[in-house]
Symmetry: C2
Subunit: 474 residues, 2 copies
């Protein structure tokens, strides 16, 4: 490859970064995709891993494998520490990557609105680690209750509290209710898991506020059918180990899950660009950072308005569309200038940085990003859900099937797709959850963990890796 | 249930304990099965998880789910701390379980022959945690090499060293060679994984010493075909980070895996019974502890001789047969005494403890345990292997197919079986390894991990759980 081939650096292997890279595959650009993980995670199905419906391997795919045959794409397992926009460099821990074009797609993380100390007690759901940790807590809650009932001969309440009535909260609540009331029912001898309570706390007047009222109410009805107690207008005021406070009342909670808010990746702050309240970058119409037409922000990190003035939602389809838009914009420019070079036949070709400026007013840059809303879907446990596709409103089984179809279809990796269909078909027939494993360092349960609730707070002393024989021998 | 129903406590949910419990299911006994984990692990396929061929969920099954419909079986997630044989009680951390019959099947762990400090550097393969940790190290080795090649523009050797030429070592070596030379080849841009070396060190004169010489040599040939360097008569004298010493030479090693020896669970020492060199309990012909006809030891913890004087091997079929033998012995006694009670029509029935003694000479106790060797199979990477079934010796593809058949057939859980077949069929067609995830707390790679080899030693400071937003934000 010659030095004149534009270098594109993509930060983040989520939907935005992945689809940008896909569009740049086998094109006249050199692409470096950086991620802290070696795999792309299909976030819309994370709640399935958290609730033992799917295994991590079924919703994650090695990024290298995805681009195995795209020789112009290089994947780096590394962490971005900052940017040098003036010199067009991405800073790594002990390396710098020069770029002609930069696409930042680092996504979002949980927001606790200034109560970061709640995080270890009420984990959110963004990564595979979050998912397996939540799965561990849910399954361990039953084990602890069983042990206590057997040992102290007393039944303690098993309450699962989910904070936040958005799609993630609704999906988690439905799936947790399914586990308690159907899946593990009959697995225990001293407790009755079906007596466990699943409570969904929503600060606003209704769940799924991004949907129309009729669908919100249908969702609440479907949740109640599953045995979920939906509490609207419940603002959480305090979170402590095994107790959650809202308004002026409180509730004992075996497990508290946080689905109440997200904040953009802190990488946004390192771009000295204007940010909105959630830390998203206020980008130009073409998704670039003001004053830096070579730097694109896509996905949950970008603050973009739709035609009707409403913000583009932080969903996978939006991230995918932004990533492809940014990639296409780059390709158009590269193509334009390549022609120019050929026309005037003047080697060496100018670097894109200098060559692009004249083309700034060209069609490629003229067209701003427009989000095409294909509609939104949310699932509520087994064969229940809601769908809003333009004027069309679906509920119940048909909405669930639509959701299943769309999500499985967009799952990266053909293998995973078939496997997930298989998994679900099986779970559907058998009412089983295949991935009911308590794994991680806490896989082999230490006494503290079973007997002492506090050990369930991950900030406290972490057990040695189970792979150490010392531990096994103890 | 009345108090006269004999109470059977089973320690361990491996093959021995699981099959003992299965035989006691829906029989006139009360069974309590204790395990530190909530799932049964199909150990013969652990190496597949360690080498990214299968996901943990595919070779593990929740113990509760297995006995969901056996109401006389109670599953406890807990850790045994000792035994009170005189009062017939199993000691837990803050509980005691009374038993009339005890079956101890706690299995085995790794043996480093007095070099326990080698353990963190050269992990063994006994649990799902071991498997995912080994998987992490193998995949990370390529990432580290790629990063260095890119940053320092120099190619460092990637050497995988497997210590021990038994079945586990051979299976690991074959699968690792497959990953390096076929699976991830082409996934990297700066290094060539197919140039990685896979070295199998065997202290004895040949690998798979438990097989006949012709099969051992066939195995070595098949390993070499896969690109594994087999070094016989190589006694390891030292293990340090990234270097292994044997004889008077040494070798740089990116990853060192330990498959050289096992020791019985330390629970054996707590039974004040005679032990052999490997810590196994020297049991009576009926698998009971001398002087305690109500205490059975099964599986890798039991030291039993075959008719020809050779020890019963520490393999799954042996553990299964012992577990079923112990369970049947108990059932025979219970049946015998129940009849006795009916005959004399004398309520209340005596407790088995007193009632059993007269029946000690009865047929049930007369018959000692005899291991029925169905033959042994070992696989060597993709469609290669050896099988020794009586006089019949198989090698190559047919041996591999036999192995596949047997292992998938014995896999607990119908769902898993079909899924594993599917996984392998897919992997076979695509030459892909589906589960190539670097997971665990080290999933999001910290700079140290990628840049500083030492971080790959799990004994060093453990990163905070990835589920803590602080970490994500860093």
């Amino acid at each position: 490859m010659t030095a004149t081939i534009p270098r594109v650096v993509i930060v983040g292997g989520g939907f935005g970064g992945l689809y940008a890279a896909r569009k740049l595959a086998r094109k006249p650009v050199r692409v470096t995709l950086i991620d802290r993980k070696n795999h792309h995670t299909f976030q819309p199905l994370l709640y399935q891993v958290a609730t033992a419906g799917l295994s991590p391997g079924e919703i994650a795919h090695p990024i290298r494998a995805i681009f195995k045959h795209s020789k112009n794409i290089e994947v780096l397992l590394d962490e971005v520490t900052g940017f040098d926009l003036a010199h067009r460099q991405v800073l790594l821990h002990d390396d710098r990557l020069a770029y002609d074009y930069l696409i930042v797609a680092a996504g979002a993380t949980h927001a606790y609105f200034g109560h970061e100390n709640w995080a270890p007690i009420a984990p959110g759901l963004k990564t595979l680690e979050d998912a397996t940790e939540i799965r561990r807590r849910i399954l361990l809650a039953f084990e602890i209750a069983e042990r206590r009932a057997r040992l102290e001969r007393k039944l303690e309440p098993i309450n699962f509290v989910i904070v936040g009535g958005g799609p993630t909260g609704v999906e988690l609540a439905g799936a947790v209710a399914e586990i308690a009331h159907r899946v593990v029912a009959g697995n225990f001898r001293s407790i009755d898991p079906s007596r466990a309570r699943v409570i969904l706390l929503e600060a606003g007047p209704r769940v799924l506020p991004s949907y129309t009222e009729d669908l919100s109410h249908s969702a609440e009805r479907q949740l109640r059918t599953l045995g979920v107690e939906v509490m609207d207008n419940c603002m959480v005021t305090g979170v402590e180990l095994n107790r959650i406070h809202f308004g002026d009342s409180s509730l004992e909670a075996s497990v508290i899950l946080w689905a109440a808010g997200v904040a953009a990746s802190p990488l946004g702050k390192m771009l000295d660009a204007p940010l909105d309240r959630a830390g998203r970058v206020l980008v130009e119409a073409d998704l670039t950072v003001p004053g830096h037409p070579e730097v694109f922000i896509v996905g949950d990190m970008a603050s973009v308005k739709q035609a009707d003035g409403k913000p583009v939602p932080g969903v996978a389809p939006a991230a995918i569309q932004m990533g492809e838009f940014a990639a296409q914009t780059i390709l158009d420019e590269v193509a334009g200038q390549t022609q120019r070079v050929r026309a005037t036949d003047r080697p060496p070709a100018p670097t894109p940085a200098t060559a692009r400026k004249p083309s700034l007013g060209a069609p490629a840059r003229g067209a701003g990003f427009h989000y095409f809303d294909k509609g939104s879907l949310a699932t509520i446990g087994r064969n229940a859900g809601i769908a809003q596709i333009g004027r069309l409103h679906l509920t119940g089984l048909i909405a669930w099937l639509a959701w299943l179809l769309v999500h499985v279809f967009f799952l990266i990796g053909f293998r995973n797709r078939l496997q997930v269909i298989w998994e679900w078909g099986w779970a559907y027939l058998r009412y089983q959850k295949g991935a009911r494993l308590i794994t991680g360092n806490s896989d082999s349960i230490t006494p503290d963990e079973v007997h002492d609730e506090t050990r369930r707070e991950p900030t406290l002393e972490i057990p040695a890796p189970a792979s150490m024989p010392e531990r096994k021998a103890s």
